[in-house]
Symmetry: C2
Subunit: 393 residues, 2 copies
Amino acid sequence: MTVRTEPAQHAGMRASNLALVLGEVARTSPVSRAQVAAHTGLTKSSVSGLVSDLISAGLVQESAPAATERGRPATALSLAPGGIAGLGLEVNVDYLAAVVTDLTGMPRYHQVVRRDNRGRDVDEVVADLVELARTAARSTASQALPLSGACVAVPGLTVEGAVVRTPNLGWARVDLADAVGEGTGLEVDLENEANLAALGEMWFGGHEHDGAPLRDFVHVSGEIGIGGGIVIGGEVFRGAHAGAGELGHVVVAADGPRCACGGHGCLERMAGQQEILARAQVATMADLTRACERGDQAALDAVADAGRHLGVALASVITLLDPTAIVLGGAFATLAPWLTPATAASISHHTGAAEPPRLLVSGLGSDAAVRGAAGTVVRRVIADPAAHLARRS
Amino acid sequence: MTVRTEPAQHAGMRASNLALVLGEVARTSPVSRAQVAAHTGLTKSSVSGLVSDLISAGLVQESAPAATERGRPATALSLAPGGIAGLGLEVNVDYLAAVVTDLTGMPRYHQVVRRDNRGRDVDEVVADLVELARTAARSTASQALPLSGACVAVPGLTVEGAVVRTPNLGWARVDLADAVGEGTGLEVDLENEANLAALGEMWFGGHEHDGAPLRDFVHVSGEIGIGGGIVIGGEVFRGAHAGAGELGHVVVAADGPRCACGGHGCLERMAGQQEILARAQVATMADLTRACERGDQAALDAVADAGRHLGVALASVITLLDPTAIVLGGAFATLAPWLTPATAASISHHTGAAEPPRLLVSGLGSDAAVRGAAGTVVRRVIADPAAHLARRS
DNA sequence: CACTTTAGTTCATGACTCGGACTATATGAT
DNA sequence: ATCATATAGTCCGAGTCATGAACTAAAGTG
């Protein structure tokens, strides 16, 4: 039922099959050419030709023949770790970060610069980010890894390479993609931090559902604000104006107080960090965690209450989107031991679903977004190797 | 970023281009071959060949040459009204319905049988539906219209041709697709009534956004229950287990009473027909409409209150899904004059969105789902004409 | 050491689309 | 009238790419 918009030509056929083969290699490596042929439905001869293109492009490598049961041993194919790499960057309220990931998803460079960026001059922060990116690029070059591009995680709404607004950072109309692109010479994309965290969690979080990686889930990131990333069929769901997934502003109390967003009774207003800290009567998240650990009742009550509100929001998410799992990330991951019991109870109190989604806890912490950003770059090459071949020829 | 799963072969290339050309003809008819070539990016010679296949398959027809500015006049192409047709069926709480639609979307047969199907023997109702389908098929045959298939709208959850559960009809595990298929000799699909109503509204409702048909919206159908259909990029969004879009069970009152679904404070429990009628102290929806028309305060209050609750649910839908519009259908369309002011106010009270989606009212009434069902069948042929060519050869 | 089994390559065949040459049919200028 | 120009559509040779069968390669088995 998909509306087709592009003509199918011979080049497109080859591009599609290159992607098919490379995707198979990425998913189940090591594999032989014969296995790829069997899994994809292509013939052995076609696969041979396609693979030789991918090898000469440096995206796939052959390794030592592995003996099979009988017959001629298969030459194993896998993604080439030295083929290309992707640069992930992140601007956030209290840190800047950079990560370089190779084709296999392995991190090859990692740097975090902690500093409160609220109130700082925007140009200064951008300059810091560009410097961080250039250092990462130099390190990558010294490893003889060509960078394919960069992706920046931003805690707010982005449209076509520009930051439109970031509620908790106070930015508006910043041409961040251009700035980083000029500073590094790379193609740069911008994307919402919550969406990238969700993707990072999918690719690198190690969660599984029925033996396969999660493909339909909602990722909740409790940073200063509460963000949400919706992943459907392995892809981020953005809505009509790239504003989808704003879990923090789902209504959890119809008669609730006014939120900074202009609405009333939003989840973020009722269960955001500010509210939890105030109710627990502590100053920082670290203090809150310590208070919970020593069994402080005010802290435990504040967290449980936030968990209940979170459950109300998630109940609506579950009935509307029917995901297979919910992943709690950011501060919610840290608070999970005291938060999730209340959340799970609240979800089941508010839904009648026969098959409730699983409630998982993120293992990546605050790295999820940068790693997702770097992953986005290399995944793009895996999804369309023909474009990469065309660029380097 | 899409994961490719099928090899691209020559036949697939042609199939894709047939769909591309037919889609162009469907979208902008009448068109000339030259225009199709310009819009699709295919060459004139390829388009000629593809069009001649589509004409000999009876899907496209040539009409009289229309004079252009200069040069040789173009032969106009359009969808053939006599090519194929789709049968849409609907089982609902208080009626059965059948509609036949030709390729152009024009209804060629329409029949509704009103009768309360609650409590009736399931086999009897199925037999009635099959009889309705056979009568429709006979009428279609007498018009020399070949039926391509059928689609049944069901007020509940369906999985692979079987009804899993219908809360308001009390059915469970009914192999409806098989029953109708055996009775008519057609390929039969089952689909949720709310989803089909949303599609019907998109294809036949006449709504527009920026000059183009709506492609990202949420359709709310207020029948006995409250259903929701989410359309994203022109396609129904189903979620991981086909359970997405259950707007009726979004939480609108965290401390609300228990709902029939097992949850608490669901929209349907707070603003469903049962609740509205009870609060307005009238017996039927017709009575309610009359009461509203003559300005009865209890009725007006009951409807406004439902509108407020609906607004809370829609506020969450808007922040989560970011649609371009909300379409109110079913009973909500009838009650729109008294309902929408409260709903719109409630939405803006609970969201801080800069660009609130438009709140539209359905023009199709309770026909939306059957027409959507019939449309689904013909759209499938338009989206994949190669499959149709293969079947008839 | 022949036989079987599996992996991967080679090459002729065929199904496409492309692109340019060609025909058809109109309008407008001379 | 006649020619130039513009546009629609067809025809056919050329090029691209997957297929499928025959072939080579490299192991294990009896």
